[in-house]
């Protein structure tokens, strides 16, 4: 089977985020970009399906800082083909990307038809869309999102997926192929690949590029970010300082004053 995985880079929020001088966007120069976490799970799920059922995995990603590293890493992990979408505006929103992907999927040889298109169930930067249902909508394919388990039924030409709801309840759906699945978690944590293997992939494999012909307005003009700030102050926690022992003592005082040391005993 042929599985396409859409990967996206997002700011690494472990690093300090800086707001650009204009005040309504992140300072792109100050960012470290990493692969969106649920996209990493989507890639892992695709690789597991390939190991189980054979076939090939194509990874597709919009151009972004560090995206080559992410694509070579995907190749080193076992993806067969990597394509970078170029010519996109840096301020492109998720909704705009949905339109761009439709064009790239239609115009790049060997991409469609695919049996499955996987992508992360969500990215924390997607202000104006969840990408998986939009891709399905543009491609006219069935979709289920927030999925944490995928199994293929080769005879039926379908996949059975588990979609997460709330309170730990999940629901099982059968999706005819081809289809689009938004992955929340792969069956297993994403695999680790040694740096040496990534370097080897950089030497022996290639990243293809696919340009987007004409980027029609993909909803970008429909919303405007008028300001950004780092939330703080309001309702901020009272911070406790000192050695671990001093802080532990303070916390004990707080718990005791609230009767929590007795009550929860």
């Amino acid at each position: 089977m042929h599985v396409i995985v859409l990967l996206r880079m997002v700011p690494d929020v472990v690093e300090e985020l800086e707001i650009a001088p204009e005040g309504n966007a992140l300072d792109l120069d100050a960012l470290r970009m990493i692969l969106s976490e649920s996209d990493d799970h989507a890639l892992e799920q695709a690789l597991l399906l390939k190991e189980r059922h054979g076939g090939r995995v194509t990874v597709l990603a919009p151009d972004a800082p560090e995206v080559d590293d992410a694509l070579f890493t995907a190749l080193a992990k076992g993806a067969d083909r990597a394509i970078k979408i170029t010519g996109l505006d840096a301020s492109l929103t998720a909704r705009g990307l949905g339109h761009a992907c439709r064009q790239v999927l239609a115009s790049t040889p060997g991409l469609m038809p695919a049996d499955l298109i996987l992508t992360g169930a969500q990215a924390f930067s997607d202000l104006d869309a969840v990408i998986a249902p939009l891709l399905a909508y543009h491609l006219g394919l069935p979709h289920v999102g927030i999925v944490s388990h995928v199994s293929v039924n080769p005879a039926a030409g379908s996949v059975t997926v588990l979609r997460e709801y709330a309170g730990g309840v999940r629901a099982e759906f059968e999706v005819p192929l081809p289809g689009v699945i938004g992955i929340q978690s792969a069956e297993k944590p994403p695999r680790y690949v040694p740096v040496a293997k990534v370097r080897a992939a950089m030497k022996s494999q290639k990243i293809e590029t696919a340009g987007v012909p004409v980027m029609a307005d993909g909803g970008n003009a429909l919303i405007q970010v008028t300001g950004m700030l780092k939330p703080e102050a309001a309702g901020h926690a009272e911070m406790l300082e000192g050695s671990p022992e001093e802080v532990a003592g303070r916390i004990c005082d707080i718990l005791a004053a609230r009767g929590l040391l007795q009550e929860v005993r």
Partner: protein, 323 residues
């Protein structure tokens, strides 16, 4: 009724979610501020009687269809698009939950109108709706305005107390027809969570662990503290995805919502997905090495430091107090 504020009443497995009432409370403020009616939109099959609890709205629009029986976004977006095309609401508020995820995106594309996700607040400024959104896992808040109406707002839970959106009033219910295609996706069954070894909801004290716990071996430190407090250990999604804790111990959007008297968040950043499950705890004490972690906006007390140092110190101090 044209030009109203709409709230999608989220019903799942025949029950209305609390977030529905939170959105009605927010919708009421917007509707009153704009001088327009507030309408709840209830979609499903055989759930008309649920409309009776939506009295905070001026009216309920109800569509009954077999296609609205399974909670997938496509039929709900299609139904809303059909209803909105003729009735022209000014805004449509949709819960940003696992149940309703994706509806707003599809509806926005279908109607070619603006959509704003991750809203924790929608305000009126000079008669214009402005959303305040939580981005990048809670690290950034952005103000967003839309260039045309209707605007679709995907609203995070917890913005208003649900109680503010409940009313004993009996709303007028208008039934509307929708025409939905058969879904190619087949619902098979619900999979109930496996009963965990502990009932998280019954604990007075919970020690929540996140990525900052670094390895499964370090869970012992959290277990020791939980034991000293007479409570249990739970975790955020990354810890469960790693297989360090079972699914039954996950707190947050896909997992459980807990309200213990004490919640110690150890190495948890406090992204909205986790916050949703624990923000109602009586006392929240957060330990995180990142002073900018959003958990500190939620916690009552915070400690910037390594949870691996503080957890054992705290366990020891509590044991010493208890003698």
């Amino acid at each position: 009724m044209e030009g109203g504020i709409w709230v999608l009443a989220e019903q799942w497995r025949g029950r209305l979610s609390d977030v529905t009432y939170e959105l009605l409370a927010l919708g009421r403020e917007l509707a009153d501020g704009l001088g327009v009616p507030l309408q709840a939109v209830l979609l499903g099959q055989g759930v008309k009687e649920l409309a009776g609890t939506l009295g905070a709205a001026d009216a309920v629009l109800y569509a009954d269809h077999a296609g609205l029986n399974s909670s997938l976004p496509e039929p709900f977006a299609e139904a809303l698009a059909q209803l909105a095309t003729s009735r022209k609401p000014r805004a449509i508020l949709i819960p940003l939950t696992n149940v309703s995820a994706g509806i707003g995106s599809l509806l926005g594309e279908r109607l070619q109108v603006p959509i704003v996700n991750f809203c924790k607040e929608v305000l009126l400024k000079d008669g214009r709706m402005e959303a305040q959104c939580v981005l990048y896992g809670g690290k950034i808040e952005a103000s967003i305005v839309a260039s045309c109406e209707p605007v679709i707002f995907g609203i995070l839970s917890g913005g208003r107390p649900a109680e503010k959106g409940r009313s004993a009033a009996v709303p007028a219910v208008e039934e509307a027809a929708v025409d939905l295609p058969a879904s190619p996706v087949l619902f098979k069954r619900f999979v109930e969570p496996e009963a965990g070894d502990v009932d998280l909801g019954a604990q007075d004290a919970l020690v929540g662990v996140g990525r900052g716990i670094q390895s499964q071996d370090n869970l012992e430190l959290a277990e020791n503290l939980a034991q000293a407090l007479g409570g249990a250990v739970c975790g955020s999604r990354p810890v469960v995805d790693q297989g360090w804790l079972p699914l039954a111990r996950q707190v947050g959007k896909s997992g459980l919502t807990v309200k213990p008297k004490l919640y110690v968040a150890a190495g948890i950043s406090g992204a909205p997905e986790h916050a949703e499950g624990m923000r109602e705890a009586g006392l929240i004490i957060a330990i995180n090495s990142d002073p900018g972690a959003p958990i500190f906006n939620l916690a009552h007390y915070g400690v910037v430091g390594d949870a691996l140092d503080l957890l054992p110190a705290l366990s020891e101090a509590i044991q010493a107090r208890k003698g």
